[in-house]
Amino acid sequence: MKLRAVLLCCLFAANAWAHKASDSYLTLTQKGSEVVARWDIALKDLDGELDLDADADGKILWSEVQARQNELMRYAFSHLALSQGGTACTSRPASLRLTHHSDGVYAVLDFSFACAGEVKDVSMAYSLLFDVDAQHRGLVRLAGAGDSWVSFSSDERTRALTFEEVSRAHQIWEAFTSGVHHIAIGADHLCFLFALLLPSVLRRRNGQWESVEKLKPALLEVLKVVTSFTVAHSITLGLAAFDVIRPEPKWVEVAIAASVALAALNNVWTLLPEGRWSLAFGLGLLHGFGFVNAMQDLGAGATGIWASVLGFNLGVEAGQAAIVAVFVPIAFALRNTKLYRVGFFKVGSVAILCVAVWWVFERI
């Protein structure tokens, strides 16, 4: 009798505040006859169903997740269905990324549903994990309809959802802010920009760097550099966004790091004395591919993708313009000082070069 009592003992222990329960987060955005979706599912939960930790060492590696990507998608999509007017919408998986939530790392599934006709009132059936975890919830958010979440539980697996109209202007604005945000947080982009801007108040003469006399040529130089960069990344971002070319993200990241190194190296050891705009153009082509990953957060569907590309590019431009507006006047004022010529220009370029080279090795 006593022994049996011990089996499930620990009187008080059961009342401790526990771990967070299992939730998945699904965000749906209506774009014409498509519903663009982002679905975050905890790796812990997927591990319970798919044994992601193949070698059972307690560590899930990114390679272990990638190896099971197809199964993972199949598993998730077999538990989610959307229909409009009795006709099922077809899902098209796009990519797999990761993100942090308060209770661990989640898989991020970016995909879209293609429905028959303009999407408005849909019926959604959600059954992820309910058969194995009765406390699981599916928290669904409809973008454009405030920040309200609809909850699916094992007792409530089917619900009717209504999308509110999202205006084109709103879509462009969202993409614009995302573009600005990308400039503000993208360390590699900023390093690249500084590597190109640092020499803008100087010029090369007889193998020596000299200060420019007037602000105007300096500004003209900056304008040429920034514009050619913008034109270039707009081209590749457009091509990638419309799925014309989609290079491997890993190598894009490596190439971007290498391009930053190249731009910085050009300041220290001149490879291209004139026409830095051509360098900016060539490297801008690369950076455009890099923006595609950032733009995926917008979940742009095929019908409205031009609006997102436009908004995002404008946002990137605005972000760059803001930095130029602060940087160039200061650099111009300081251009004759030793501090600028050595401290900022030389040391700054070498520092960027070092960081960029380190990135190259880190990303390979």
Binding site: L7, W17, K20, K44, I60, D103, A134, A184, K250, I330
Partner: protein
């Protein structure tokens, strides 16, 4: 250089610092740089995990087999306990019993597990229905009596808790009765009784449980040295006992030993209660940031089962006395352990609401419970106009 130039240099450096400052790592989705990146940690594949996989396969092949379902559910409940009361595992235990979950007259083994799961989900009334039925059908069912005693004690039904403990025998009975004695203001004597009843031959889990109870009783009596020695032994026997770890951290926090408390809970932040203690120990720490996100996620989910800790978080971390008091009042309607009394009194004092705290003061007087932090709060509340 002129002064203007220095200003320009300063502005420039500030600009560079701002744009190159390290960014928060949790921002936005990402693709890991290398395939070898460890992206998540899960319990390593031990014996218990393999056994659960076998049990799961057994149930999958015979979905109507109640023994297979009970075996799997029990494995999950055990794992939930071993891994710090993980609700993910409790939910899995519940799902394993799905065909019998709503069946009133389910087999006893199902009812016992169902009661334990409901208790973990703070459905104390639901748990009581099953436990009452179990002991009515079999007065020898020690586990049912013990769980019944726990549930009765949590909700403040001391007469039924006493009755349940009296149905037990041996060390289990002594440990079961000890908190009831402690609640009457005799915590020190109760702790000593538990320690006297322990013998070297008791199984480790039994010993850990008894020492945890004794330690908490010593704490109530203000015997911190004895309490800490008991807690240390418990954690040596069972490092995953997050409840004991939390009680010990509270004792340290009360004594103003925040650094020690932070160290004690470090590495076990998966448990929300310990994350809260970690945040209280080090304000503005990473623990606080994670905690804020986790509380937001839990609120988004719509759960109300953890009101005690949420009330404490709202008061001690967010500093919102009125909101905390509302949560503490709701919590007290369901749970009446000393920790529930405490958060209600703290919130009532902070919100300067003597009326709202009256039920807690009444509880203190009726039970005769003595614990220094609570006595001080009662005094403060009574001094209010």
């Amino acid at each position: 250089m002129t002064r203007t130039r220095w200003v320009l240099v300063g502005t420039f450096l500030a600009l560079v610092a701002v744009v190159l400052a390290p960014r928060h790592a949790t921002e936005g989705p990402f693709v890991p740089a290398s395939p070898d990146t460890v992206v998540e940690r899960v319990p390593a594949g031990g014996e218990a995990r393999r056994a659960r996989a076998v049990a799961r396969a057994a149930l999958a092949s015979k979905p109507d087999d109640v023994d297979a379902a009970v075996a799997l559910a029990r494995g999950y409940v055990e794992a939930a306990r071993a891994e710090g009361n993980d609700v993910r595992l409790i939910g899995r235990a519940q799902a394993a019993l799905a065909p019998w979950w709503g069946v009133l007259d389910a087999p006893p083994a199902v009812r016992l597990l169902r009661a334990t799961i409901k208790q973990s989900l703070h459905d104390f009334a639901g748990a009581r229905v099953d436990l009452d039925a179990l002991v009515a059908a079999n007065a020898e069912d020690a586990q049912a009596w013990l769980t019944r005693a726990t549930v009765a004690m949590v909700v403040g039904d001391y007469a039924e808790a006493q009755k349940s403990c009296d149905a037990l025998s041996g060390l289990v009975a002594v440990v079961c009765r000890a908190p009831l004695k402690g609640l009457k203001g005799e915590a020190s004597a109760a702790a000593k009784e538990v320690e006297a009843a322990l013998s070297a031959s008791d199984p480790e889990r039994m010993k850990a449980w008894a020492l945890s109870v004794a330690g908490e009783l010593h704490g109530w009596a203000g015997e911190n040295k004895e309490a800490e020695s008991a807690f240390a032994q418990v954690l040596q026997l069972d490092p995953a006992d997050d409840y004991t770890r939390g009680v010990w951290a509270d004792l340290m926090l009360d004594a103003g030993r925040a650094a020690e408390a932070a160290k004690l809970v470090a590495g076990r932040e998966g448990n929300d209660a310990l994350l809260l203690r970690g945040c209280e120990a080090q304000k503005e720490s990473a623990a606080c940031e994670t905690l804020t996100q986790r509380v937001a996620a839990t609120r988004q989910r719509g759960d109300v089962v953890h009101r005690r800790e949420e009330a404490r978080y709202t008061l001690r971390v967010e500093g919102d006395a009125a909101k905390s008091l509302a949560l503490a009042v709701e919590n007290f309607k369901v749970q009446r352990e000393p920790a529930d009394v405490r958060v209600l009194l703290e919130a009532a004092v902070a919100a300067k609401d003597k009326n709202a705290g009256a039920v807690a003061v009444e509880w203190m007087k009726r039970t005769g419970f003595q614990w220094a932090p609570l006595a001080a709060l009662v005094k403060q509340l009574e001094a209010m106009p």
